[in-house]
């Protein structure tokens, strides 16, 4: 504690908006920021998109059928897909964090590996949903 004043310590500032594109985050860093982005997205869309959809899906057979009608629009399909990706990413990345909190896989190599697994699983599940949505499956 005696030499804190003597030598200037290196400073690590937050990333500025202008640096975002050229700042090379490791895979776990990308997962982390997308965890935050997907959480914020779900928060904003909750009463605006998700709850009205849920209301229509359970209210009556007619309103349920109407969702399928709206989903014929590719733009609506895209909204569904983004929201489902957001939930799946947040879900899978969240489980990784819960495991990390148990002090499992905290070393650099396993953490990078588990970040890759999360991207693999969440994107694969999103793809399955997309194939269902676009009527391929």
């Amino acid at each position: 504690m005696s030499d804190t004043a003597a030598k200037p310590r290196p400073q690590f500032r937050n990333i500025g908006i202008a640096q975002i594109a050229k700042y090379r985050l490791p895979l776990a860093g990308k997962l982390s920021i997308l965890h935050r982005v997907s959480g914020a997205l779900l928060f904003v869309c909750l009463p605006l998109v998700i709850l009205p959809l849920f209301a229509a899906s359970v209210a009556s057979p007619e309103s349920y059928a109407q969702i399928a009608e709206y989903a014929g629009n590719p733009l609506v399909k895209l909204v569904f897909l983004v929201l489902v990706w957001g939930y799946l990413h947040h879900f899978c990345a969240g489980i990784r964090y819960l495991i990390l909190d148990l002090h499992i896989g905290v070393d650099k190599v396993s953490a990078q590996k588990s970040a890759g697994v999360v991207f693999g699983v969440s994107l694969a599940l999103t793809l399955v949903f997309a194939l269902k949505l676009f009527g391929v499956l």
């Binding site: 959480g39 928060f43 909750l46 899906s57 359970v58 209210a59 059928a65 969240g94 819960l98």
Partner: protein
């Protein structure tokens, strides 16, 4: 502190109201509740004879005897969601918004947003 190598456990100088620890734990417990409910829903969808309005509605309105268990589970899930989202969104404001007044305003709006969502969800759920 006499010994820096023992900056934890009962020798640590403890200060504050521990609300950070409570939030940390609450965020994780609510996450587990939501994850379990999500898996229950997915299993429910997979074991459906067919994906129809009646079966979908039943996921959220099935009864066990006189007990509206479907609604109760969904409502518990949503309380967990609102609490979890409050902690997460408040963390975002604390990380990026420094002026105290603006931050307070955003936090109040966040609470209103989430409480309104809870009320809206409960209304949809209990009118099934």
């Amino acid at each position: 502190m006499a010994d820096d190598s023992q900056n934890f456990g009962h020798t640590r100088l403890v200060v504050g109201a521990h609300y950070g620890v409570i939030d940390f734990i609450a965020q994780r417990i609510t996450a587990v509740i939501m994850a379990v409910y999500t898996l229950v829903l997915i299993v429910g969808i997979l074991v459906m004879p067919s994906f129809s309005y009646e079966n979908w509605k039943a996921l959220f309105s099935f009864h066990v005897g006189a007990l509206p268990l479907g609604q109760i589970l969904a409502n518990l899930f949503f309380f967990a969601l609102a609490w979890h989202a409050w902690i997460g969104v408040r963390d975002i404001w604390m990380d990026y918004v420094k002026p105290a007044g603006v931050r307070l305003l955003l936090q109040v709006l966040t609470i209103l947003w989430l409480v309104a969502s809870v009320v809206y969800f409960a209304k949809i759920l209990w009118s099934i």
